[in-house]
């Protein structure tokens, strides 16, 4: 009746072995890589907001300070999303007919809050506090990127725990004089490391990596 298998089956056998091995090693590795991609981190995907609010215009052109709208950023865990009233401080005078701002006016008239889409989100069990970071000289740009160059705000940083840890272990790279925190294009003059060190000393920065610093 002749042999059970043919010569070609030898190659077949080897190939299939290889495929199994490659799969076993590749799938987990692939997942680990994926987890680090901007896509998986939800970075750089533009988010549709109820009103096309343009940060470029407000910060760069009008030179409005971040803290005018996000006015609890230096005294509260939350940076604060401006109340409708705040928008209308200006927009009751300027662009007060503009159709783009209709939702804002409606919100005020109907006394219904605006429903903005969240861009930056850390898990519920992470307690990030804006005020301490801002008061110790961590600039907005360190986490939020060049908001002044974004038409629609998008996530600029991965916000993975290891990313947070990086700075909590070596904060120098992200420090600046406290009065410069909102400055989008501040650059350290001189050796950044040296500047960072002396800022850390000046602002009395001591970052902690104890779990309860963020998880409570």
């Amino acid at each position: 009746m002749g042999p059970l298998f043919r010569p070609r089956h030898n190659t077949l056998a080897l190939i299939s072995l290889f495929v199994v091995a490659a799969g076993a090693a590749g799938v987990p590795a692939g997942l680990m890589v994926y987890a680090r991609t901007p896509y998986a981190r939800g970075m750089q995907d533009p988010i549709e907001q109820p009103v096309q609010f343009d940060h470029r215009h407000h910060t760069r052109d009008e030179g409005i300070d971040c803290r005018y709208c996000h006015n609890t950023v230096d005294k509260s865990p939350a940076a604060g999303i401006p109340a409708t009233q705040l928008c209308l401080n200006c927009h009751s005078q300027v662009w007060n007919k503009s159709p783009i701002l209709e939702p804002v006016r409606q919100s005020f008239i109907q006394n219904k809050p605006m429903e903005w889409r969240r861009v930056y989100k850390v898990p519920e069990f992470v307690y990030f506090n804006h005020s301490i970071h801002v008061n110790k000289g961590v600039g907005c740009v360190s986490c939020h990127g060049r908001v002044d160059q974004m038409a629609a705000v998008e996530k600029a940083t991965p916000l993975t725990m290891s990313w947070c840890l990086e700075c909590h272990r070596r904060p120098e790279a992200n420090l600046r004089p406290v009065e410069e925190v909102v400055n989008m294009d501040w650059k350290p003059d001189g050796d950044p490391v040296a500047v960072g060190r002396e800022l850390a000393a000046k602002n009395d920065v001591h970052t902690r990596t104890s779990c309860t610093t963020c998880h409570r």
């Binding site: 997942l31 998986a40 939800g42 940076a79």
Partner: protein
């Protein structure tokens, strides 16, 4: 020392408190929008909370706020804090890639107009007060974006002095209780408040015809100036109308007793600060009554081991918190106390207190107690004239109170340790007597309109009134209550009341000081306020409580700019100089008193004694729907989710009853079936029945349903507390108790293990080289180890705690405070029975001695934050590790739930979420969660964190200010609520800190020190101050084991 505490506490608290009128200003624009919120919004004056209401009506209830409360809250329920871990747990797709967080898919909802004092993300504290039995306790309520989340005591308030009771802590849960009455209804048809007002007006006209003869108000006892003023105005309009105040736990005995002794009704006010010898006649003054927090503090202050340490004698039938603190406890039937105190009078008279001479002759029947005890006590009192105190309990008849008053007068204590003042309310009596009068009127058909604002009288009224039946005879009955309870079912109109934290009002403390009650949140279900209901009868029902209150106080206010003062009052929580001075110069006419009392003391009845007690958790039953209190272990029996017919071991043996047997208790041919429990130190031949259970009301929700038995069904108006002639019979059925502590003694099954709690008599403690100190010294200090201990001295803080067992009364306020602060889940009876209770603080309770010489120690035990924590090295995923400051951290989000840490914890202080207890939280309930603490879902280990969320908040705020946290500036939730200041928290790196001193105290010892865990929580041993004339119970007598809790 306690006074100092208060002072800096007060200064400390000023700045973090705000007054609501500031909020009112921000309301201005809202008034315009008032129609938008369903009519009854006029008085609903706080603007910021409107947004919640709108969410409410849109049906989109916010989830518990997260750490980005960008204005108010999160709309997407899925990703609310409770949702999150569930979400992670299901979306393993996300999880498997180890993604820390998923695509942002939720909304941020800012304010439309942000009230200027609200900083999203930072809590505010508002001062308010809570009225119970007519007396107010001052509270500070923590509020996150308008959601009250935590109750604290107001240090400025004379009655709470910064502490709270377990019941006050639990108010938060009551506020968000989804079973509350939500609909104003007439019969079964819902009606609007305005239309009810219309009807009331119409009815008023009719009533006015015969000057309101048919109008009756059945109210809870009250001292509220506003309510009393409204009452005055109502009575002006309807002179024939009557106000009856009723409470099933009223302290009428004291008032009547004072009347007997002094000739006029008076209310005693006690001062333990200067009391060297205290005799409690069946009075649980440390855990009962409006003064309890203050008295506990004053008592504890005098328990510092020193020659000045006070001595406490307690005479009582069943062990109470106070009895457990006693240096000498005499168990005695409630009906015996009268003759006991008479006996005391005669002994003291014979010792030359001539004032008592007339009372010496009082016959005290055949005595059942140890005369030696009585003589020793008498001697002690006599030696401490002017610095002793006799307190009679609210369950004792007037005669006993009268004799107690006489004793105090004779001993010269009046004005020093006790003072008598006129009642703060026009109707001093609020017990069965006034209710009986009302019952007669109703029976006689004289009542046309009955307005009930008292707490659920149908359930609490004595059984012989058959109150529900009576109500059928009232044409117009209006019930004003929180729940659709038994009374609501019996009344024609049900008016849903606003919760205490939703109302405007005022109330007096026992010393008369007025506190303004201000709402923390707009009524979640549009509840009505008591003042408004009253006002309806003078045609001002729609004015709104806020206006009524301001108007009244503006009227009272003399001179100066009102608004400024008003704000100050709200901010401080008290109205200055409103205290009522006590009356000096009270005199006792001994002879007259002897005549009045003599007949009352002769015991006529015989047979087994039946005794009713107020439940320390559910009170008179009004808190039955509060799961926190239901699950709170009873301070003595450690029983949860039930009440029990309590018996002494001897009596139980005689009747062939064991713990867990269901017995039939019969009294005056009424009977209830009740599970029996043998309790150490209980007096023989007496059955004690706690009130407040066995609620059957229609609207009483899942929590209270079918929990326990209703002892009230046996209660009669003539003997509301004690009587003889009860019978107890075995039914043969068994019952499963959910008890959190099975074992009564420190060495169950005769185990020889070092006692967890150490105690000693005072002279031993004062001698440095005594047996006591030998005992203690081996329980502290370093042990040899192969691991170089980590050095924490370089850190900014070295957190540590100390608990003074000498001060801990076991009142359990800390337990509820911790539950409230840390979002701890309720597990329900079945799981408590299985041993899965979640409270982080376990108040361990140990008896020693025998029934006659019983002593008890309570030991609050939560994670002691061992420096060499055995739980840490066994965790495979680094979910529990040490912080740089030596906290034993529990990282919920890393925990995979192997439970290995709990197994290896020698203290067994870790708690595990065996089931998904948060699954059935309503959206409203979530509003009450503390947004600073992660809510734990199923499969996660948790434990005491030393309130790390408070540490971190304080750390951040102080670091921003560029300073370090000062000692005492940071308080844990348990510490904050502790009435006796037994718990101290702070940094050991600050040598001057309170906790450092406590750790250096000669009484300091470490629990399970011999294992070498180096706990950060130290205990200070319990010290007793026994009378040398009486035998001193062995320091920690490995007392014989008492009956175990049924646990099969």
């Amino acid at each position: 020392m306690s006074c100092d505490d208060n002072k800096d506490a007060r200064t400390k608290d000023r700045d973090r408190r705000r007054s609501l009128p500031v909020v009112d200003k921000s309301v201005a624009p809202a008034k315009g929008a008032a129609p938008a919120d369903g009519g009854n919004g006029l008085w609903r004056s706080q603007r910021p909370w409107r947004s919640i209401d709108e969410r409410d009506r849109q049906g989109a209830m916010p989830g518990a706020a997260n750490e980005f409360p960008a204005g108010t809250m999160d709309v997407d329920d899925n990703v609310s804090r409770r949702g999150f871990m569930q979400l992670l747990s299901v979306s393993t797709a996300v999880a498997t890639v180890g993604a820390a967080c998923q695509k942002p898919n939720e909304k941020i909802v800012p304010f439309v107009r942000r009230p200027e004092e609200v900083t999203p993300g930072n809590p505010l504290h508002f001062a308010t007060a809570y009225a119970l039995e007519g007396y107010g306790s001052g509270l500070l309520v923590e509020s996150h974006e308008g959601r009250p989340t935590k109750i604290e005591g107001n240090p400025a308030h004379p009655q709470t002095i910064g502490a709270t009771t377990a019941i006050e802590q639990a108010l938060i849960l009551g506020l968000y209780d989804d079973d509350r009455a939500k609909q104003l209804r007439q019969g079964v048809t819902p009606i609007a408040w305005r239309s009810l007002l219309g009807q009331i007006n119409a009815n008023n006209a009719k009533l006015a015809e015969n000057r309101g003869a048919g109008l009756r108000f059945l109210t809870a006892p009250t001292t509220s100036p506003l309510l009393l003023d409204l009452r005055r105005r109502i009575l002006e309009r309807f002179p024939q109308a009557k106000f009856v105040s009723y409470s099933s736990v009223a302290d009428d005995g004291a008032v009547d007793g004072a009347r007997m002794a002094f000739g006029k009704p008076m209310v005693p006010r006690h001062r333990l600060g200067s009391a060297d010898v205290i005799l409690s006649l069946d009075s649980d003054f440390l855990a009962e009554g409006p003064e309890q927090t203050r008295l506990s503090r004053e008592f504890a202050a005098r328990r510092e081991p020193s020659p000045r340490m006070s001595r406490l004698y307690v005479v009582e039938p069943a062990v109470t918190v106070t009895g457990a603190m006693a240096d000498h406890r005499l168990r005695m039937q409630g009906t015996e106390v009268g003759s006991f105190v008479a006996g005391l009078c005669s002994v003291l008279a014979s010792r030359g207190l001539e004032k008592l001479a007339p009372l010496a002759s009082l016959s005290h029947g055949e005595r059942k107690w140890d005369m030696k005890w009585l003589v020793a006590l008498a001697g002690d009192l006599e030696r401490h004239r002017g610095s002793s105190l006799v307190i009679a309990g609210c369950r004792q008849p007037p005669a006993v109170h009268a004799l107690a008053a006489a004793l105090n007068a004779a001993l010269g204590n009046v004005g020093v340790t006790v003072e008598y003042g006129a009642p703060l309310t026009p109707d001093p009596l609020s017990g069965p007597a006034p209710l009986a009068a009302l019952a007669q009127d109703i029976a006689a058909g004289a009542v046309d309109t009955l307005v009930i604002t008292a707490a659920n009288p149908v359930y609490t009224a004595p059984a012989d009134f058959k109150f529900a039946k009576l109500l059928e005879r009232v044409p117009n009955s209006i019930y004003f209550g929180l729940n659709e309870d038994e009374t609501a079912a019996a009344c024609k109109v049900m008016v849903p009341a606003a919760h205490a934290l939703e109302t405007w009002g005022d109330v007096r403390a026992t010393d008369g000081t007025v506190s303004i009650i201000q709402p923390l949140i707009a009524p979640l279900w549009g509840g009505i306020q008591e003042a408004e209901l009253y006002a309806a009868f003078i045609g001002e029902g729609d004015v709104g409580a806020n206006k009524l209150l301001r108007r009244y106080w503006q009227g009272q206010f003399k001179g100066g700019e009102f608004d400024a003062h008003w704000e100050r009052w709200l901010a401080d929580g008290i109205v200055p100089d409103t205290g009522v001075a006590a009356e000096g110069g009270v005199a006792v006419d001994g002879a007259a008193l002897a005549q009045t009392v003599a007949p009352l003391l002769t015991r006529t009845k015989s047979g087994m004694e039946i005794a009713f007690v107020v439940d320390p958790k559910l009170y008179d039953g009004r808190f039955a729907n509060n799961a926190w209190l239901q699950e709170l272990p009873h301070p003595i029996t450690k029983l949860t989710w039930d009440n029990a017919a309590m018996l002494s071991e001897t009596t139980a043996k005689a009747l062939g009853i064991e713990t867990g047997d269901i017995v039939e208790v019969t009294y005056r041919d009424r009977h209830v079936d009740a599970p029996a429990m043998i309790v150490p130190g209980h007096v023989d031949d007496t059955v004690t029945l706690p009130l407040g259970y066995g609620r059957t009301g229609v609207g009483v929700g899942g929590v209270a349903k079918d929990v326990g038995f209703n002892a009230g069904a046996l209660r009669t108006s003539d003997n509301p507390w004690y009587d003889r002639g009860a019978t107890v019979a075995k039914t043969g059925r068994r019952f499963k108790f959910a008890i959190t502590q099975d074992h009564w003694t420190m060495s169950p099954d005769g185990r020889v293990i070092p006692p967890p709690a150490v105690e000693g008599p005072i002279e031993e403690v004062l001698k440095r080289d005594s047996k006591f100190h030998e005992e203690i010294e081996v329980r502290r200090g370093p042990l040899p180890t192969i691991h170089e201990p980590v050095d924490y001295s370089k850190q900014a803080y070295k957190w540590a705690m100390s608990i003074d067992l000498n001060k801990c009364t076991g009142c359990s306020a800390c337990v509820v405070a911790c539950v409230s602060e840390n979002n701890i889940n309720v597990v329900g009876k079945e799981n408590v029975w299985r041993g899965r209770e979640m409270q982080w603080i376990r108040v361990d309770r140990y008896f020693s001695g025998n029934d006659d010489s019983l002593s008890m120690i309570t030991q609050p035990l939560m994670c002691v934050h061992c420096e060499t924590a055995p739980c840490e090295y066994v965790c495979p995923v680094n979910a529990t590790v040490h912080s740089d400051e030596g906290l034993n951290e529990m990282v919920y989000n890393r925990c995979i739930g192997t439970r290995y840490c709990s197994n290896n914890c020698p203290y067994k202080v870790r708690r595990f979420n065996y089931l998904n207890y948060i699954a059935d939280y309503t959206a409203v309930r979530e509003l009450g969660m503390n947004p600073d603490v992660t809510v734990r879902t199923r499969g996660i280990m948790e434990k005491c964190t030393y309130c790390v969320q408070r540490i971190e908040r304080k750390r951040i705020s102080t670091r921003i200010e560029g300073r370090t946290i000062a000692d005492g500036e940071l308080e844990t939730a348990c510490q904050q609520s502790c009435p006796t200041r037994a718990i101290v928290f702070g940094s050991l790196n600050d040598a001057s800190s309170k906790v450092s001193q406590q750790h250096a105290d000669p009484r300091r010892y470490d629990l399970l020190h011999e294992i070498g865990t180096r706990p950060r929580t130290a205990y200070l041993a319990r010290v007793r101050n026994p009378n040398p004339e009486l035998h001193v119970p062995d320091a920690h007598g490995a007392g014989q084991e008492h009956g175990k809790g049924e646990h099969e």
